[in-house]
């Protein structure tokens, strides 16, 4: 998009040297062309680093267009997520792209834990490409999870920026809310009172969503506003799945990630349980400043 600064100037892709890596590299380049300027390809190996480097460089040259440049980094380590996080911090990366980072037979199990580590510990935004998807772009249907927080505002801003650079068919701003104890509080009253109270809550939440969208720059974007009650994370991920979304944009969580968060998953942890679409976890820090 001429005249628009890059949204993620430096993109880092984690490559596991699996059959999925070729598709991942190809997509990494396409994303860098659309949204960034510079691509770094990183690999963590517990084997021979030099051999791994040669193989990776070979794959890079096969999957990137002639003349395209990408920096290749190979680190001897078994901790893929940790390596990506460290490189991202050192080189001030703006976006980490990750797909299947482990052996094929462990994809389903490990991508969850690696994805969660990246989601919580990466110093920048993270785009997760599920292993069964060979293509990230184009994003035909983008769903972005919003609420009144700064982090959600950042997610909305990134989603709209993405939409300007690669216009989708639909950009859905989804406001999900849950009120702990609401059913219990309403149980003492009549059914009619309960209905009325729930309707009032729904209207108020819809008004807040409208307020949020009013203050965002949505000029010429095909935006749809959706407000739903339910478990945060679950509602938006189910909506994205049933709507056939290509990309779900959510605020990146910070801290935590331990056993408590895995047992009582909330928000992003729920989203990461099932990845049938790409997920962009937006971290405020690391977003490129733009001229106002």
């Amino acid at each position: 998009m001429s005249g628009m600064p890059p949204l993620f100037p430096t993109v880092l892709v984690g490559a596991a040297l699996s059959p999925h890596t070729d598709a991942l590299l190809h997509e990494a380049w396409r994303l860098t062309e659309k949204l960034g300027e510079r691509l770094i390809v990183a690999h963590a190996t517990t084997g021979n680093a030099e051999e791994a480097r040669q193989e990776l460089e070979g794959r890079v040259s096969r999957n990137l267009p002639f003349g395209a440049k990408a920096e290749v980094v190979v680190v001897e380590s078994g901790r893929a997520a940790g390596v990506l996080t460290e490189i991202a911090a050192e080189r001030k990366v703006d976006l980490i792209l990750a797909g299947a980072l482990a052996q094929e037979r462990l994809i389903t199990r490990l991508i969850g834990s690696v994805a969660r580590r990246l989601a919580r510990e990466a110093p920048c935004s993270v785009l997760l490409l599920p292993s069964e998807k060979d293509r990230a772009l184009p994003f035909r249907i983008i769903v972005v999870s919003v609420d009144a927080s700064d982090e959600a505002e950042a997610a909305l801003a990134v989603a709209t920026s993405l939409a300007r650079r690669d216009p989708p068919e639909k950009l859905v701003a989804m406001w999900e809310y849950q009120v702990p104890g609401l059913a219990m509080a309403l149980a003492g009253g009549s059914d009619a009172e309960s209905r009325a109270q729930r309707d009032e809550v729904q209207h108020e939440e819809e008004a807040q969503l409208a307020s949020l969208l009013r203050t965002a720059d949505l000029t010429n974007l095909p935006v749809e506003a959706v407000c739903r009650y339910g478990e945060p994370g679950w509602v938006v991920s189910e909506y994205a799945r049933t709507a056939g979304a290509d990309l779900l944009v959510v605020p990146a969580p910070s801290g935590g990630g331990g056993i408590v968060d895995r047992l009582f998953a909330a928000g992003t942890d729920v989203v990461l349980r099932r990845l049938s679409y790409s997920v962009l976890l937006v971290r405020q820090a690391g977003l490129a400043a733009r001229e106002g």
Binding site: G181, A183, A266
Partner: protein
């Protein structure tokens, strides 16, 4: 097998009808005077119990509510089922992911909200067991632990209803209170189940550490087996079986089966029901309508009978000890309010809000009464202590709402006209670019807030990185949230010539609104931003704002349109 005789059946159903009818009537009356229904329901039982009916007409009392024999056993069975179902619906509302969502603040409030009253109650009961009515032959440690738990528990249904009535349920403060109460209840019931097992060692032969081990195993089974099973089964049950009957039956099967299992292994049936409630309530597949129906089923049939039946157990008049009641009430209130307050203050909430959280958590309601009845059945406490605990549970429930209301005097929604002053209005900006204009306004904001200008610059810069400050129509609203900001700050600057704009509709910027809001109030920023956007999307309003020759005229123009605009909803 023995069975009830016809007269016993008559007495049983007549007794149930009277209990339910009286509880329903007085519960409804309590609701109409904006008190928890439990107050009316328990009062109904007191009136029908030995304290009133038992004195007015002992023969009628003994006929309707026999104290022994098959009829008494049948009624006690009903009460036991009611207790189990009450714990089930309490578990249903446990949203432990809220602790994860709300982070450290919620955890600190939750933990201190239980640790402080637990410590105070346990210490008092250990030091003064006779004064607090320890049961004859009861173990002092068991009594101390029970008393500590009784003071540490909170009543989720009462708290939820109180918060809703005060319009606080959906506020940050309301969520913190609910989260704190949830953790209180979870930990409280886990501890109490160990205590009950200790009290039941004669029948099960388990020591306390073995019980703790069993409890951990039960927790693993619930989270590793039952919760995933419910997640898989619920969509099928709700979709394929007749609704709502099918899901009701399915849930009750789980409740009764797991209650039987936990009772069998020496952990009280109530905990089994509570944990099943957590597993079922945690499932995102549980429809809200199903949740409501489960609540209705329990709260309008079993709960009234249970709370009315409490009065049958408690001879209030005969065992009322004013000093003991006062002592228990003071201990309970002191512990809970202090714990909640301390937790909230550590979470950097202001004094009034912290106190409101303390009093919000103070309601003991149904949970306190259930604990008391179980302790009485196991002879851990005497009748006087039981009466004191019931009264404490009711009084704390009744007072919680009014005190919170006083502390959280509801503020009307904030408007931009409330925030403006001559000192925060710049009629003509000296800056010729938007960036410089923002800096100009930041200096004023720094003076108003007594905050370092670097902090404000950094906060605004982070927001600008998201998408710029312009919203079109020549309006820019650079904004940010600041931690521990007491109230919102708005600084307005005008540029007659217009500042160049390279984003959005590229209209030159004539009005810049620099807005700072408290980080702790997630909604006020949204409301104020929306108000600014809504007002100034009107071209006439923009022209009037630029025409104003003074701050007074500017404010007057805003105030004229203010009368026609709705306020943000009332918030804590």
């Amino acid at each position: 097998m023995g069975s009830l005789t016809s007269p016993e059946i008559v007495r049983l159903f007549a007794g149930l009808a009277i209990l339910l009818g009286a509880a329903m009537t007085l519960g409804e009356l309590a609701r109409r005077v904006r008190q928890p229904a439990i107050v009316g329901e328990t009062l109904a039982g007191i009136l029908l119990g030995p304290s009133v009916l038992g004195i007015i007409s002992p023969s009628v009392f003994r006929t309707l509510f026999p104290q022994e024999g098959p009829g008494a056993l049948a009624l006690e069975t009903f009460v036991t089922i009611a207790v189990v179902l009450l714990l089930f619906v309490a578990g249903l509302e446990m949203d432990l992911s809220a602790v994860s969502r709300y982070g450290r603040k919620a955890m600190v409030i939750s933990l201190l909200g239980i640790v402080v009253p637990f410590s105070i109650g346990g210490a008092a009961a250990y030091v003064w067991p006779d004064a607090l009515g320890m049961g004859t032959g009861a173990d002092p440690l068991t009594f101390a632990l029970f008393f500590a738990t009784a003071l540490a528990i909170s009543a989720l249904p009462v708290i939820a209803k109180t918060l809703m009535d005060l319009n606080l349920l959906r506020t940050d403060l309301g969520v913190l209170v609910m989260t704190g109460a949830m953790v209180n209840d979870l930990l409280g019931w886990l501890v109490f189940s160990v205590i009950l097992s200790m009290m039941g060692t004669a029948t099960h032969g388990h020591g306390p550490w073995f019980t703790v081990g069993l409890l951990l195993l039960v927790l693993v089974v619930v989270f590793a087996v039952i919760r995933p099973f419910v997640n898989r089964a619920l969509p099928w049950v709700q979709g394929r079986l007749v609704w709502p009957g099918g899901v009701l039956s399915f849930v009750l099967v789980l409740v009764f089966a797991f209650s039987a299992l936990t009772e069998m292994i020496g952990i009280h049936a109530t905990l089994g029901a509570f944990l099943v409630g957590i597993a079922v309530g945690d499932s995102p597949h549980l429809r809200e309508r199903t949740r409501e129906i489960l609540h209705y089923f329990v709260m309008h049939v079993f709960a009234p009978i249970f709370f009315a039946a409490i009065g049958l157990y408690a001879d209030i008049a005969g065992h009322f000890n004013l000093r003991l009641v006062a002592f228990v009430l003071v201990l309970a209130t002191l512990g809970k309010v202090a714990g909640g307050y301390a937790g909230a203050r550590l979470g950097r909430l202001h004094g009034r809000e912290a106190l409101a959280i303390g009093f919000g958590l103070n309601a003991r309601g149904a949970m306190g009464i259930i604990l008391a009845i179980l302790a009485l059945q196991y002879r851990v406490i005497e009748q006087e202590t039981f009466v004191a605990l019931v009264i404490m549970s009711l009084v704390t429930s009744v007072l919680s709402g009014p005190i919170m209301d006083l502390l959280m005097a509801r503020r009307r929604g904030v408007r931009i006209t409330d925030l403006l002053s001559p000192q925060t209005f710049v009629p003509e900006l000296a800056a010729t670019t938007l960036r410089d204009a923002i800096r100009e306004l930041q200096r004023i904001a720094a003076e108003r807030t007594s905050r370092p200008i670097a902090e404000i610059e950094e906060a605004i810069r982070r927001h600008e990185a998201l998408g710029g400050a312009t919203i079109g129509n020549g309006i820019a609203i650079p904004h940010a949230r600041l931690a521990n900001l007491r109230s919102p700050v708005l600084v307005v600057g005008r540029s007659i010539a217009g500042l160049p704009c390279s984003t959005g509709d590229r209209t030159p910027i004539h009005l810049v609104f620099l807005l700072l809001t408290p980080r702790e109030d997630s909604l006020v920023q949204l409301e104020l931003l929306a108000e600014i956007a809504a007002r100034f999307e009107d071209e006439e309003m923009r022209r009037a704002a630029m025409r104003a020759n003074s701050f007074s005229e500017f404010l007057a123009e805003l105030s004229v349109t203010a009368a026609t605009m709705p306020r943000g909803h009332e918030r804590a």
